[in-house]
């Protein structure tokens, strides 16, 4: 397995995947906020994005300038092959663990 994937990193990767070709900084933040109800700063988000890019899990490019952002361009993100693989690995590991511990994990009714 290439690189360790933290919980927040996994969340960001999955959000990028879910947003398809509309995955950029503010959009990702908005989506995470809506889903998990947790407020995160741009500083934290961009730091994670930078680290993910360094690890080779995502790649990015600049889009066209837009009026509502004061004429500034967006940076879009996309999962790379190894990013996808890392997510798959993670999921497989989880599934396996779930299968084994189904009995113990049952919630009381």
């Amino acid at each position: 397995m290439k690189g360790y994937l933290g919980e927040f990193e996994e969340l960001v990767l999955l959000t990028i995947a879910s947003l398809g070709d509309q995955a950029y900084g503010a959009g990702v933040r908005e989506d995470i906020k809506a889903r998990t109800n947790r407020s995160l700063s741009l500083g934290a988000l961009h730091s994670t994005l930078t680290r993910l890019e360094e690890k080779g899990f995502i790649k990015s490019w600049l889009g066209e300038p837009t009026q509502e952002r004061g004429g500034r361009r967006k940076r879009f993100f996309e999962l790379t092959q190894s990013g996808k693989a890392a997510l798959h690995n993670m999921k497989n590991l989880r599934d396996e663990l779930w299968k084994v511990s189904k009995g113990t994990l049952a919630l009381d009714k």
Partner: protein, 893 residues
């Protein structure tokens, strides 16, 4: 395209972010922030949204993402660096050219700034000098002076002195925390040096600064011993001299020959020199020259003056110092000391006596003063600082005003620079360099002028000083240069560099009503308001001082000189001298007295009147013989002058006292008896009230009588003829000759009584002069600024005026156009300053018991003065612009 007013993110936050990120590419992140901000605006308040924006900026500045991008940008080939050396050189060159091109502006700016900086330099020199006093002592941080505080609130009396037996008592009764205690008595003797068969060498009282010191004095204060040692001071009739004083006494004899020589203090105190110490080189308030051994007191006439067993013998000359143990604070001793003082001063038995000990660290003594003749310098230093900063601020305002006004002439230059790729930061840097060059010139000018200015103001400074170059003062100059450059240059640089190139190349400048315009007018109002404040202060102070000088004091001062003889003299010399002076031609009358009717010394003593009820009150005693009342032309309301006699026989009282004793008319008081120290004497006359103290004090009850024991001074009235013929000097010389025969060794210091009264209001005189100077400087700087602005307005309005003239405007019309604006500004300034000035000046006047009223006229006069000054400054340019030929002014394109 019509732009909708949009709410922008906080500018400062954006600037902070841009500045932090420098050339890193953070466009996308910045965009994210903007988007978030706009989203926030829809659901939150504007303030909340702005706060969130700030939080985002801070989170990003601290984040890894931005740091990483910054690191990347350094490797970028076109990374931009503001500190390019070649550009700095070019900035200096351009700055120099601009300064040369606008000579008048540059001169005005440099002059204004130089004045402000000069004021700062004076302040720096004075303050740093005052702060050097007594900072050099070995273990100085452990040395404290003991003093006594008596009473509370209004009646609080502080003395940096102790009762005579205090030092010994402290030594015996308090041991914890104290390393050494020492007490000494200040003493100004006249000195005789026996010189073999010749008559002794005489040295005047005011040349010796002696103390009668315990040997422990030298444990507290460290001296270099050139000969002898402190132990020798254990015996009576020994003295130690400083190097300089030894030279004074014995010329250039070697040390070992001086030791053992005899020095005679006050004719009969024969002492032997047992040691010589080096003088302290640094500034000190304790420049003692003779150290007489403490044990001398018991065995000499000194015991009549210094009562070592009497706790109620308090005088300013009895001082005690403590050297604390390491790690002990003076505060921890305070309770013990207070207890000790209370015990001996009888405060335990009498709870109305509120007595506490006071400790003053050695290093603070110079500034704090001793509550006696050495005043607290702190208020003076604060006043000087405020004044200096004020003048500097006004000069800086001038600079800002002129530079922003000038910006319109430079918009094209800036536009082209911007088009050619100049960044805003580099433009700001360029203007700051320009300011720096101007400030530097001003600093040079100020340093050249500071010493002449200091010497001409020496009388108004706490002590004479000069400005010298040293590491500290160079550092201060650097600080002033940089500080002033930034202060004066930042706003103009900011404004100049802000124009967008499209607008600036089109050639339109600041519009009326815009922020800049408003800012500039505000600055002018501030300048005029400050000038007005000083004008009002000068008018009020001048009138009060005039009032003090001219008010009827109840006695005459014309052509009277006074001088002291010897306070301790019990012989009849005083009367002999008076008699001798009386026979000098040109002398009209001579009186013996304590002091003139008005003077620094006021003797108070309880007097008792036994009328229907017993009235006892403290009354001021004016000692004088029968010549006292005629000499000073005190006006008798009833009865007669005291008769000539050699002893106290009868009294004359003042009107206030007669009323206080319950007499409706002064005649009723005549013939009544007054008791003083158990004996009764008759009142033979009542004089009109006269001023005894400065105008800060109310007139109180007073008794004039021949209290011979207090008389030690002489008042001489010269005849009109001798005053007219300028014979004062001759007569004084004759008096001095008689004086020296009877009082050899005593200093002869005659003063015109008018001068002495002047010294009583010395503080006011000094403040008034300071205010005068401040007024002249602020008016000068403000007028410089207005002059520059008017010149500038005339330049940009050339065409407007041309057209107006073609359309038929007269010279008067045009002058009015110019003057209207400045008049409105000055009127606003008057409205702002008047209440403030009224408040301060009223407070100042309230300190006087006798004062002028604050009238509206003072304010009207000050306002008119400011208006005239402002208009005169403006109208020079207005008239010139109005006279210009419209054909010429319209052709210039």
């Amino acid at each position: 395209m019509k732009r909708q007013p949009t709410i922008r993110p906080p500018r400062l936050a954006e600037q902070l972010f841009d500045w932090y990120c420098k050339s890193a590419s953070v466009e996308d992140i910045h965009g994210d922030m903007e988007e978030l901000f706009q989203a926030d605006l829809k659901r939150l308040s504007i303030r909340r949204a702005k706060l969130n924006y700030w939080i985002q900026v801070i989170s990003l500045v601290a984040s890894y993402a931005v740091r990483k991008r910054k690191r990347k940008s350094y490797a970028h080939s076109i990374s931009y660096n503001t500190n390019h050396q070649a550009m700095i050189g070019s900035y200096f060159k351009i700055a120099w050219r601009t300064i040369g091109k606008n000579k008048v502006y540059s001169v005005i700016n440099v002059l204004g700034l130089a004045l402000g900086i000069c004021a700062c330099l004076i302040l720096y020199t004075v303050t740093s000098h005052e702060l050097t006093f007594d900072k050099f002592h070995v273990d100085g941080d452990r040395i404290v002076r003991i003093g006594v505080e008596q009473g509370k609130g209004e009646n609080k009396h502080l003395c940096a002195c102790v009762p005579a037996p205090a030092a010994t008592a402290i030594r015996e009764e308090i041991s914890a925390g104290i390393e050494t205690v020492t007490g000494y008595h200040q003493y100004r003797p006249k000195v005789n040096i026996p010189e073999g068969g010749h008559s002794p060498k005489k040295i005047d009282r005011n040349l010796s600064n002696a103390i009668i010191a315990e040997p422990s004095y030298f444990d507290v204060f460290t001296y270099d011993w050139l000969a002898g040692n402190p132990g020798a001071l254990n015996e009576p009739f020994k003295t130690v001299l400083t190097e300089r004083q030894a030279h004074n006494y014995f010329g250039s004899l070697p040390w070992d020959e001086i030791v053992g020589k005899e020095v005679i203090y006050d004719d009969s105190l024969r002492t032997t020199v047992v040691g010589i110490v080096k003088d302290w080189k640094d500034n000190t308030d304790f420049p003692f020259t003779d150290f007489i051994s403490f044990n001398t007191i018991k065995s000499s006439f000194l015991k009549n003056d210094i009562h070592l067993d009497n706790w109620h013998d308090w005088r300013h000359s009895s001082i005690a110092f403590i050297k604390l143990n390491k790690g002990t604070s003076a505060a921890s001793l305070q309770t013990q000391l207070s207890q000790l003082f209370r015990k001996y001063l009888g405060a335990e038995a009498d709870s109305t006596l509120q007595i506490t000990a006071m400790t003053q660290p050695l290093a603070d003594l110079h500034i704090e003063g001793d509550f006696d003749h050495h005043e607290n310098l702190f208020p003076t230093l604060v006043a000087l600082t405020t004044l200096a900063l004020f003048i500097l601020v006004i000069a800086v305002i001038n600079f800002i005003n002129l530079s922003t006004a000038q910006s319109i002439r430079r918009v094209k230059e800036i536009g082209i620079r911007k088009v050619l790729g100049s960044f805003r930061q580099s433009l700001i840097l360029q203007f700051l360099v320009e300011t720096f060059v101007l400030t530097f010139l001003a600093v040079c000018l100020a340093t050249l002028t500071v010493n002449p200015v200091l010497s001409s103001f020496a009388a108004y400074l706490p002590s004479p000083v000069t400005f010298n170059f040293g590491p500290a003062s160079l550092l201060f100059l650097l600080f002033v240069t940089l500080g002033t450059s930034l202060l004066a240059g930042f706003y103009p640089a900011h404004v100049l560099s802000a124009n967008s190139p499209a607008v600036s190349l089109k050639g339109t400048g600041a519009h009326k009503g815009s922020e800049k315009w408003f800012f500039r007018k505000g600055l002018i109002v501030f300048q005029f308001a400050s000038s007005l404040f000083f004008i009002i202060a000068v008018l009020v102070m001048g009138r009060q001082i005039e009032f003090i000088r001219n008010k009827d004091r109840g006695f005459s001062t014309a052509s009277i000189i006074t001088f002291r003889t010897n306070w301790g003299d019990k012989s009849n010399n005083l009367r002999v001298l008076a008699e001798k002076i009386r026979s000098i031609s040109g002398v009209e009358r001579v009186a013996v007295q304590t002091v003139a009717p008005m003077g620094f010394i006021k003797l108070m003593s309880p007097f008792v009147y036994k009328g229907d009820t017993l009235i006892e009150m403290p009354v001021s005693m004016k000692a004088g013989n029968s010549d006292f009342i005629p000499l000073y032309q005190l006006r008798l309301l009833a009865g007669r002058n005291i008769a000539e006699s050699d002893t106290l026989k009868e009294f004359v009282i003042n009107e206030y006292y007669s009323k206080a004793l319950g007499f409706k008319r002064p005649e009723q008081a005549v013939g009544e008896l007054l008791s003083f120290e158990g004996k009764s004497f008759a009142i033979v006359g009542v004089v009109e009230d006269f001023h005894e103290q400065s105008f800060h004090e109310m007139i109180g009850p007073a008794v004039i009588g021949n209290f011979t024991q207090f008389e030690h001074s002489i008042g001489v009235k010269l005849s009109n003829a001798s005053m007219m013929n300028n014979k004062t000097k001759d007569i004084q010389a004759k008096i001095e000759k008689e004086f020296k025969q009877l009082y050899p060794g005593e200093p002869f210091e005659p003063h015109l009584i008018e001068d002495e009264i002047g010294w009583m209001h010395d503080r006011e005189q000094r403040l008034s002069t300071l205010m005068n100077t401040a007024m002249i400087i602020t008016i000068f700087i403000s007028c410089l600024g207005v002059f520059g602005l008017a010149m500038f307005t005339a330049q940009i309005k050339t065409k407007e005026i041309g057209i107006r003239k073609v359309m038929g405007a007269t010279l008067a019309n045009i002058v009015v156009i110019f003057c209207r604006d400045i008049m409105i500004l000055i009127l606003i300034a008057i409205a702002i300053t008047s209440p403030i000035a009224w408040y301060f000046m009223n407070n100042w006047l309230l300190e006087f018991a006798y004062r002028i009223e604050l009238t509206v006229w003072i304010f009207v006069l000050a306002g008119l003065a400011a208006l005239c000054l402002g208009l005169a400054t403006v109208s020079f340019h207005a008239v010139r612009a109005g006279m210009a030929d419209p054909v010429k002014s319209l052709r210039t394109e």
